[in-house]
Symmetry: C2
Subunit: 259 residues, 2 copies
């Protein structure tokens, strides 16, 4: 599968971006620890596959794919902090603050967010203005993720759809839209791919609730939601100029993790 091969290029490019800074070594090591944590690289996959579905190549979206993973990594580093979820472990390893201290973890997260935008600013563009659109949309999603996280931690009644839309779907949308724009997608293709990612993000989050046994809804209701959001994601893929097979496959893999 082409996307699988490209993911190795994303890993290499991430390391290159991280190794542009040599010092201070405490910062560089903390940033690497955060990014090399062994994640599934779902968002870079969406990004690369969106470039293909929009009529471009996966290579077009190499830098945006890195940018979304850098952004995702920073949110995890900050989420784990003692003042937030207070998680000393992530994926079976010490979390960044547990290994490098709180101050370094805050700063490593800050640096990862800056690096994400820097990577995006270096993306070649097929259409004039595509890169600016990419960065503006990505910025709104980066802000959206924070909005979702604040809603999640604020005491009192939570607006669950708001949290899911922003904490999860915004990053999926950032991946799809930057990938589509980098691949030279026209407005209609970009919008289809944004919709795909929106619904996939929600399906993914509901599926996560099932896996964590932590759903705000009944199990049957959550299964129904996963199904309807997945159907909506797949429906959004029709009529794209490029091959959307990888995106359809990704949707099916992501929402069948429990079954």
């Amino acid at each position: 599968m082409l996307i699988e091969e490209m993911i190795r290029d994303v890993e290499r490019e991430l390391l290159r971006l991280l190794s542009e800074q040599e010092r201070p070594s405490a910062l560089v090591e903390a940033m690497r620890w955060a990014v090399e944590g062994g994640g599934k690289r779902i968002r870079p996959r969406i990004c690369l596959a969106a470039a293909v579905a929009a009529g471009g190549t996966a290579t077009d979206a190499l830098l945006p794919a890195c940018a979304v993973e850098l952004l995702h990594s920073y949110t995890l580093v900050h989420d784990d902090l003692p003042a937030m979820d207070n998680d000393a472990e992530r994926r079976g390893k010490p979390s960044v603050w547990a290994k490098f201290g709180e101050a370094n973890a805050i700063l490593a997260g800050d640096a990862l967010q800056a690096l994400a935008f820097t990577a995006l600013a270096q993306t070649p563009e097929h259409r004039i203005g595509a890169r600016a659109k990419m960065i503006e949309f990505f910025g709104r999603c980066a802000l959206g993720v924070v909005r979702g996280q604040v809603e999640d931690i604020v005491p009192g009644t939570k607006d669950v759809p708001f949290i899911y839309e922003h904490k999860t779907a915004d990053l999926f949308m950032a991946a799809a839209v930057t990938g589509a724009l980098a691949g030279g997608g026209d407005d209609a293709s970009v919008e289809k791919l944004r919709l795909y990612a929106y619904h996939l993000g929600l399906a993914f989050q509901y599926e996560d609730d099932l896996l964590d046994d932590d759903s705000p809804f009944s199990r049957d209701e959550t299964l129904r939601l996963v199904q309807s959001e997945t159907d909506a994601a797949l429906a959004a893929l029709s009529g794209l100029p490029g091959d959307a097979t990888s995106l359809a496959e990704l949707a099916r893999v992501l929402v069948n993790r429990t079954r």
Copy 2:
């Protein structure tokens, strides 16, 4: 003075950017608290004046001026955190974490950084590619500020010039370079203005050391450094296509705070 009038526009534009998000209110309030803290808006002034010196107008640099202030504000919010400098006050008011809690302060800082890049991505460009250059340079400076901060807090011998270059001069350079690019400056003008800001940033930092009575060098040596960096900043301003009077005046005001 034109720059003074434009600063009021910057204040209004900052409020507009901040009010685009309506919720969660905890986040919006914390972001406003951080930005409305009554700072001197030095970096937006540099940005606006750099656009003029590069041959454009201050209005060209309205969004970059907001972006540098948003970035500066986020660094202050994170610097004040208990895990960092542990400052419960800033400019005579509770710091963001003291007023809104640590988690909200971390997240408000994160959101301010994202908003800075979003503002930059919306900047009109006079030359094709100027906006991408702006964002890439800004991103490197945003990363640089974090590198300087990590070097500052890491235990052991500190590389003082490295800290000053990154913690202070990088943000001054981000202001001057984004302003120059937004004003339509050519490569030579942008480089002159980058140099101006680099030296002004160092002069400003040495002057700050004098004010805080916290210099790594003797008072005489620090005074000499302030003078030589100011001279270098002023020298960089010759041969610019636009009016550099405001930048020269700014340099003289900033480095005469003790005398």
